[in-house]
Amino acid sequence: MSPRHRLTIRTLDRDPRATALVNAAGHLGITLPATVDVADLVFVDGPLGDDDRRRLHEVLVDPLLQRGTWELPSSPGVEITLLPGVTDTAADAVRHAADQLGIAVDAAATGRRVEFGGDVSADVADEIVRRLVANPVIERWSEGTIDPPHIDAPDHDGPTVETITIRDLDDDGLLALDEQRSLSLDIEELRELRAEYRRLGRDITDVEIEVFAQTWSEHCAHKTFRAAIEAVGEPDGDRTVTPLLAQLRECTESIDAPFVRSAFVGNAGVIEFTSGTTIALKAETHNHPSAVEPFGGANTGVGGVIRDVLGIAHRPIAVTDILCFGPADLPIARLPDGALHPRRIREGVIDGVADYGNKIGLPTVAGAILYDPAYTTNPLVFAGCIGTAPSRPLHDGPFPGDRVVVIGGATGRDGIRGATFSSATMDATTGEVAGASVQIGDPIVEKLLIDALVGAEDLYSAITDCGAGGLSSAIGEMAEGIGADVELDLVPRKYPGLDPWEVWLSEAQERMVVAVPPQHLAALRARCERVGVELADLGAFTGLGQLVVRSAGTVVADIDTTFLHDGRPQRSMVAAPPTPNRTESVGRTVADPAATLLRLLAHPNIASKAATIHRYDHEILGATVVRPLVGVAADGPADGVVLADPTAAEGIAVGIGVNPWYGLHDAEAMAYAVVDEAIRNVVAVGADPDRVALLDNFSWGDPRRESTLGELVQAVEGCCGAARMYNAPFVSGKDSLNNEYLGSDGERHAVPPTLVITAVAHVPDVDHCVTPDLAEAGNALLLVGETGTDFAGSHLDLVLGAPKQPGVAPPPVPDAPADYRHLHAAIRAGIVESCHDLSEGGLAVAIAEMCIGGRLGADIEQLPHDDVTTALFAESSGRLIVEVQPRRVAAFLKVMDGRAQRIGTVTHDASLRFPGVDPVPLAALVDAFDGGGA
């Protein structure tokens, strides 16, 4: 073993991580002394001489910022390093530096050191490290100096392939096998597998059984969305429901939307608004990983969805994120066993999103953050990506003879069984057992992948990303019906000792699989070499229909791809759709509307998200024409964001709709409402309502519970109904089910029905976009849409408490599509000065946000409803406030076909006035809004 050297690097000024730690400890009720310090550790194994150490020191330590020492620290501290097998990108940098300096290094690793100073007891120090600093899922730590840090490959007995005598197992044996290997397969599926191998007359290998577990996982196979569903208990009697995925597809096919190029096929949807340029869009969930390792989970969630867009041959141009967390102020005592605190999850997730997007160089532009106690144990992370490409025919390979080529990072024991893990219910032990399911992303490698692959579209016949299920999923899907023959030993490894099934299933990040006609292989290799990304040629697509995987001279898997993809027995499920109240509306009475408005503005769901938005680079590429923050002080919320190349006339708008609280009362109404909200957001900013494409993301509880599946059925039916109503097709989607947590008390905690709709729409004239910040005093304010007594699931109820009979959730608005077309015409005609949609908190919150954006007042003279509480706080869909110059009110009303009501005037007076309500000072609005968020 070569000698080990360790360099401890400290900052001269206070390390910001130390400050963050003191703050975070404060939230846990622990006061840390100001002496807390954090240092970086670099471990190098190799025969370094004094001169070598001096030169390494020179590169790694900037004397104006830091000091470094090769001596062991004498003061007490806790040191943290990554677990074996977890990617250590900083160690790569150390090796690179040594290489450039011509210093021979055998191995490198990095870590960090926390010193508490003062009189912090070992117990408190351990709790701080455990709760706030390290994550046992990816890291280990010890008091004093950590030695030896795990530099070398994890110990392993050497690659082996097991065979499993599945043919001989009875049902109990099958279930035991399922549990032992965490397969998450149904008994029907296990029986089918047993029957298949009885037919084949041989045992199944561990590689094969893992391939089936992955391919047939809920995550990859969408078993619920493809299931035969019987809906029971509805007033009109039982009925057979068209499988959910088929409903969405049929819905899109029934909509006349000539701009759709590809829907529900491949990695992402593809649309073409402007002839010559196609747009790819996709949104994904990364919920389970984010619950146990928030940074890595969110990080790789973003990385994965970017690869989806790259995996349909488009250059990624923007990222979106919608995040759902438990309450940030949850008392520690109420935190369920094994769960991370919502505040820590939030910090980690936001850091993870920011880290990936910022480093890969994509603007994170649109999003939302929602808080609800039901998300405490099941935080939700929705990441989306949009890409563009010059129009070309979609890739239609692979073809027999094409090479099976993997490009990108090396494979390690990361993310093993992530697909099955993501399909299971979590409990207190999930964090421990799921360790290997979590990965750390490397956005730089993915940036190199983009550089290598964008522009190489003519060099491959098919492309897909390695996501859940790794090579197994990527190559398995590409080989469907055609077959492939691959040599596993050619897959680049991070370290030796991996079993074949681990290599095949590993979800190591930042890898793409491409089918390359042999004559193009050299050209693609040259592109990869130029940017410094690894390419491995694993074998060929054969045309024989079998998926053959080889390792160490033997066949470790030989699977009929038709059986693999079509052999899974269709799941039969029963749904019991609830019967929502849609007729008995119930009003609310608010004693002090002004104070209530301020409470709503300060509610974390509504309050400013500026602190988070500023953590994301939303300026890179120079294309963000309408930003997520708008107005005089850049603190007003935008509706949609608009992206356009700096000199382009046309662009695209992105809008988000999400409201799980409606879903608790009426899942179908929720679907209509969030589709409406997403579309309204893009229309409000200047997009064409007749050129909108939609993405769906469902995060639900366990669909085997009939009521939960019933809500899912209603939500899908609502999505399809809304898509038809607005003539806006779904082009891609993703479902994440089993977002449940089994508490140590035996209680199941499920997320509320959470449907996120992303709308991407065409903006014909980017120079005349509209934002919600009020423009000028004296202008007229008009309301588009009608206000009803719709309070079920409202934020008024979240703030003041819901009555026992909450009434109705906001119902669909059949007039909305026509209203939006008229409004769009008004925007194109230049009549609209500002415009804002009404959502959580209703009219009062919307007009307040417009005042904040423009730092102007408003005088609301005419309420849109006789009941003041309904007028101010009801959340009826389909409504927008529009600011128009007084002399153009008549013109506006004409364009709107009379379907708008003048409600007030913009004022210089720094307050917001409603009839019969105390004026609310603008400063109070700003304070409430800016003070309540994160």
């Binding site: 910022n358 890969i360 490397d442 120079g622 930003r627």
Partner: protein
């Protein structure tokens, strides 16, 4: 009139190279994005350029300090060629990560530490050119430049900022808001000759008026474009 040949230097993880190329093109240069490894393999590429920009991003993921590995690549790979480029009076610009790289190569003074607020920050800032600066990039820029920052390690550190200013090397200062705790509000510094400029903010993201966040409200405008810095650099290169 022929366009000024310019190179945009990128490393693994550089991500604003295309933004810089767009700015250079708009300013009248002919921009080519080259990887540091390509420059090292074929230094003639550098010799053929009249202007060079080290673009922003996260070269080598900012591991163990922003810009250090790319600076090492350039220092080891190019040796004195970068110095000679500067000695020939050809303008060099380092933006964000590029600024961090240039301080580490020794072409620019000082260093960039973690932001005072402790995290990455993306927001628009206002920059004022110091009229006593010798920088060719900011000469004659009388109106404030508006553009965004997007960095986590942008706190400018220098042991003697007063001396730096007296020497004409403080090129740009943050006006009204210092977004990262930089000493003396310094946003950009130049070398003693004035041909090398480094700055943390991103002028390449304000090259047309509509990119300004207040464009719709009548804010920004041609006078405040970040493009003006590129105009200056390209003009200077053209006159060489």
């Amino acid at each position: 009139m022929s366009r000024v040949p310019a190179v945009v230097v990128a490393g693994p993880g550089t991500n604003r190279d295309r933004d810089v190329a767009a700015a250079l093109e708009l300013a009248g240069a002919s921009a080519r994005i080259v990887l540091a490894s390509e420059l090292v393999a074929d230094p003639a590429v550098l010799d053929g350029a009249r202007l060079a920009v080290v673009a922003g991003g996260f070269s080598y993921a900012d591991s163990l300090g922003a810009g250090r590995m790319l600076a090492l690549d350039l220092a080891v790979g190019l040796g004195d060629r970068l110095r000679s480029f500067v000695d020939a009076g050809r303008p060099v610009l380092g933006i964000c990560n590029g600024f961090q790289v240039l301080t580490r190569t020794g072409l620019l003074p000082g260093a960039l530490g973690h932001n005072a607020q402790g995290h990455f920050d993306c927001r628009w800032v206002v920059l004022e050119a110091d009229r006593s600066s010798v920088s060719v990039w900011t000469a004659g820029v009388d109106d404030p430049i508006h553009c965004p920052i997007a960095h986590g390690e942008g706190r400018y550190v220098h042991p003697d900022p007063g001396a730096l200013a007296r020497n004409g090397q403080v090129a740009l200062r943050y006006r009204s808001t210092n977004p990262n705790g930089s000493v003396d509000d310094i946003a950009g510094v130049c070398d003693p000759s004035g041909v090398v400029l480094g700055l943390m903010p991103h002028p390449e993201n304000h090259i047309v008026a509509r990119q300004h966040p207040h464009h719709r409200r009548g804010g920004g405008g041609e006078r405040h474009l970040g493009l003006r810095l590129f105009d200056n650099g390209v003009r200077h290169a053209k006159e060489l």
